[in-house]
């Protein structure tokens, strides 16, 4: 048990693409999940994500700029995935910021927020399956709904948008998941490509549009034992510059490359646990920005095979 705990604690993550650049609010974006859910199969999973940022970068070099001391957040998420058919999967996601905080270098203030983030609803379609080559392809469409708080206050100050729990914006995310297994091999490959487009926020207080977000992730998985999977992913993320009142914000957006090992372990009764750590290995931001140092994720999931309900009374009798 101690060994399992250590393994799960040490491992690194793929489920979330978190970065703490300026003006990113709302849920950390998640991947497309697993491929291959069957009809009437329900998977409920919950994850905890911790993210910490304390290093300024000017383009691709560390900067001694010191406006913020650090930012961090603790984020919980509940995912439900249901197989509508053997090829079509419906997914929902609800995020909650347990604690989102900013500390400043020039003033002794620790600004905090918490609350419901965004809700996400998505569809994954198992488009292509080649049993000879063991290749599967699934496109995914997701929509983010800003159901959480976007006007949270600290004392008599309404918090700026980058610390609000909700992004305040509807988002469309399109992605494709490609998996490749090898005969008589314990290794498999997963490629994940995604684009996220945000709707312009246009309220009395805010006229803002997040930059488009692009991800490309390549993950190699090793089935180490019947129950244990070890994984390593390399994720490239690029965010375009944001717009404020129609003007390009030159000090937003950038490119990150992240290495993310993960361990998942299957327990009894269709439970499984996973843990991961995300470490940026390359950062190239526009202008000067605070950048992410690491993320840690821990998740638990359970799969249910729901039975099709059959009528208890013979319809002919009615």
């Amino acid at each position: 048990m101690t060994r399992l705990f250590l393994l799960t604690f040490i491992g690194l993550c793929f489920n979330f693409q978190a970065s703490a650049q300026c003006c990113s609010a709302g849920n950390p974006s998640s991947d497309g999940g697993a491929l291959g859910i069957t009809k009437n199969s329900l998977t409920i999973s919950t994850s905890f994500l911790h993210s910490y940022s304390d290093t300024y970068f000017e383009e691709n070099l560390k900067s001694d700029w010191d406006y913020l001391k650090n930012t961090h957040f603790n984020f919980g998420i509940l995912n439900l995935n249901y197989g509508l058919t053997d090829k079509l999967k419906l997914s929902t996601e609800f995020g909650y910021f347990i604690d989102k905080s900013i500390q400043y270098n020039f003033i002794d203030v620790n600004r905090k927020a918490n609350g419901l983030g965004d809700a996400v609803i998505g569809l994954q379609y198992h488009l292509y399956s080649n049993k000879k080559r063991i290749i599967n392809v699934a496109p995914i469409v997701k929509i983010s709904l800003p159901i959480g708080q976007f006007d949270q206050m600290d004392g008599n100050i309404i918090l700026p948008i980058d610390i609000q729990p909700s992004s305040g914006s509807y988002k469309l995310n399109t992605s494709v998941l490609v998996s490749k297994r090898f005969f008589e091999s314990k290794f498999s490959l997963i490629a994940f490509l995604s684009c996220e487009f945000s709707q312009r926020i246009n309220t009395e207080r805010t006229d803002y549009k997040y930059g488009n977000l692009y991800h490309a992730t390549l993950k190699i998985t090793h089935r180490s034992s019947e129950k244990l999977n070890t994984e390593l992913s390399l994720g490239l993320q690029h965010r375009n510059k944001a717009l404020n009142k129609g003007n390009v914000m030159d000090f937003t957006g950038g490119t990150y490359l992240k290495l993310q090992p993960e361990i998942s372990y299957r327990l009894k009764n269709n439970y499984s646990v996973n843990t991961s750590v995300g470490i940026p290995i390359y950062k190239n931001v526009n202008g000067i920005q605070l950048t992410n140092k690491y993320t840690i994720t821990f998740g638990v999931s359970k799969n249910f095979q729901l039975k099709t309900l059959k009528p208890q009374i013979d319809p002919k009798m009615l």
Partner: protein, 89 residues
């Protein structure tokens, strides 16, 4: 109904960073007043218990014009006043 007599600042143009904040003061009358401040990007910090005085700073992300609004309310109503501060390089 509260009345905002004036909303003033020591500087309408500041450079990004925490070293040279803009100080804003809202002068209002009406009794039992509640002050709420807002800006879409940048950081506001309350400077007095009453909440009528704040400082404004911003990181490099927020370069450009920022509209800071002071909302004053009491049991008889609410009024608002805004001021524009430009964040420069």
């Amino acid at each position: 109904m509260p009345v905002i007599d004036s909303l003033i600042t020591n500087s309408t143009r500041i450079t990004y960073g925490g070293d040279n904040p803009a100080i804003l003061k809202c002068f209002a009358t009406g009794g039992n007043l509640n002050y709420i401040w807002e800006v879409d990007l940048g950081d506001l910090f309350s400077l007095n218990d009453e909440g009528s005085e704040v400082q404004f700073t911003a990181s490099p992300c927020c370069i450009g014009e920022k509209i800071i609004t002071c909302n004053v309310s009491n049991d008889k109503g609410k009024v608002s006043e805004s001021i524009t501060i430009t964040i420069t390089l």
